[in-house]
Subunit: 141 residues, 2 copies
């Protein structure tokens, strides 16, 4: 029988707090960090910086637009989007990973230059290249 | 120096033909097979069969619809789509994989009941569960 009661629960919590982060937690942290960089760079109109969060052969698949593959095309896409969007935030639902491949899905919330809010659901396929997790496929609807 | 000439080329081709398929080829074959099953079952209105191509905790993210998670919701979504769609074909661009995770992107071509053709770009995250590759996230726009 597993020990229960407040002390056992406290001991369990302490073990969790001091345990090394799992592979899954580490991947999720890396993805959260990359997503924060995305938002900061996008708002600061640093589209070269945004494109460097993507793999060199990444593709962005936006509704109603041609598929944008490669960092130059991706930077150009986001530069265009920034003309009508002042704010963006990302809410991640689930992250899964195996080796150097991961995916994350969630909701992106947008604020237009006119203050109008909208949202879309997205899936990103992430790839670890040279130790760094980068967006490899980016699609929303 | 590498031997060249017709005989060396023929020998090289023969080696390729008899080599065991790579992990990447095997994953791509499994995904192509699952995609063919998808099309057959969809056209035959076997939506239970379609839903069994998905993991138990899969989510389908269709434009203009609520996220459909779980096989029952996914079967219901495709049953609704079948009412207006008579034909579907899938064209895969790229497949990548690591361990039990893979992704594939491409174009889906649809033929409506009225014969009207349309297409959409998709990304699918695949997961190998119990040795079988299944759709885990399915999004298009």
């Amino acid at each position: 029988m597993k020990p229960t009661g407040p002390l056992a629960i406290a001991a369990g919590l302490a073990l969790q707090l001091f345990a090394a982060p799992s592979h899954a937690d580490a991947v999720r942290d890396a993805i959260d960090t990359a997503n924060r960089s995305f938002v900061e760079r996008f708002v600061a109109r640093d589209m070269h910086g945004v494109s460097e969060l993507y793999t060199e052969d990444a593709c962005l698949i936006a509704p109603g637009a041609a598929r944008a593959c490669g960092r130059a095309a991706i930077a150009a896409f986001w530069a265009g989007a920034r003309e009508t969007t002042k704010g963006v935030s990302l809410e991640t639902d689930e992250v899964g990973s195996a080796g150097d491949l991961a995916y994350g899905d969630g909701t992106v919330h947008l604020v237009g230059l006119d203050g109008k809010e909208s949202s879309a659901r997205y899936v990103v396929v992430w790839k670890r290249v040279g130790g760094r997790w980068m967006l490899h496929r980016d699609i929303w609807n």
